[in-house]
């Protein structure tokens, strides 16, 4: 991908109520840990970048804003925009739980040295 080109990717995940993480976060009141919304964006970016270059590496969370809690059973849609920049990629993700905005996440990746 050349610098400046932008790709749009959409992924969907349903928060599995039986995911063991939810038992510990929190007992009696399950909420998806906010970092997992960052992880959803990261996984969407990685699966896209895997086809572009070996070993794209997450170097920075420029920012993440959490707008609403996400609960078990929620369907989370990740709308990811990937832009090639000089040393790698800049990814901007908007995550929706149902139709509600849940988070905005901006990630930076370095082009891997194909370890």
């Amino acid at each position: 991908m050349t610098t400046g080109m932008t790709a749009e990717i959409v992924t969907t995940t349903t928060v599995d109520p039986s995911d063991p993480v939810l038992a510990g976060h929190f007992p009696g009141f399950a909420i998806l840990p906010g970092v997992l919304l960052i992880e959803y964006a990261h996984q969407a970016a990685l699966s896209h970048l895997a086809g572009k270059a070996a070993g794209a590496e997450l170097t920075r969370i420029e920012s993440a804003r959490f707008l609403a809690p996400v609960f078990p059973g929620d369907r989370v849609v990740t709308e990811l925009s990937v832009k090639a920049v000089e040393d790698g990629w800049r990814c901007t993700a908007r995550l929706l739980a149902g139709s509600e905005p849940a988070a905005l996440v901006k990630l930076r990746y370095r082009r891997g040295s194909a370890q």
Binding site: P17, G24, F26, P33, V35, S63, F71
Partner: protein, 156 residues
């Protein structure tokens, strides 16, 4: 020093997402140092042997240390009777090096501001070979469970 039992009195996180082991140093209400041992037997490491520790969990672990710092005077062992810690925002978090078992993580957390159930914190983490994480700014909000939204008890 605060051991794991003491940590569980302060924050509501539990297995398999209780990601700090011990608080080794507390400097008033301003700063603390927490440690976490990353092992190959952890679910995330077991799921992908040889892969690095997931950056999201590294950040979560740091944030739990931050949660301890802001809960020293108002513990929440159970969110149903205390307050739910929620991420508000994260700014400029840098992943400096890959974490792998058996790294011993040392999280330094500093409180920048605390106002009405919201706290702003910064800090960094070192692993066995040096710096692994730099946290520019994290905003944590503490909210009563009934103010967080519907669907307690898992919602399903």
């Amino acid at each position: 020093m605060i051991d794991i039992v003491g940590i569980m009195r302060l924050i509501p996180h539990r297995y398999p997402i209780l990601l700090i082991d011990r608080i080794v140093e507390v400097d008033g209400r301003e700063s603390l140092l927490a440690v976490k041992a990353v092992t190959a037997n952890e679910p995330a490491c077991a799921a992908a042997p040889g892969a690095g520790y997931p950056p999201a969990l590294l950040l979560e672990s740091w944030c739990q240390a931050a949660g301890v710092l802001i809960s020293l005077d108002s513990p929440t062992a159970d969110v149903r009777t205390g307050r739910v810690p929620l991420f508000g925002a994260v700014t400029d978090v840098r992943f400096l090096s890959t974490v792998r078992p058996p790294d011993l993580l040392r999280h330094r957390v500093r409180l920048l501001r605390a106002v009405e159930g919201n706290a702003v914190l910064e800090g960094e983490t070192t692993g066995d070979a040096g710096p692994v994480l730099q946290v520019g700014r994290v905003v944590v909000a503490l909210r009563q469970a009934d103010a967080v939204g519907a669907r307690p008890n898992g919602g399903a």
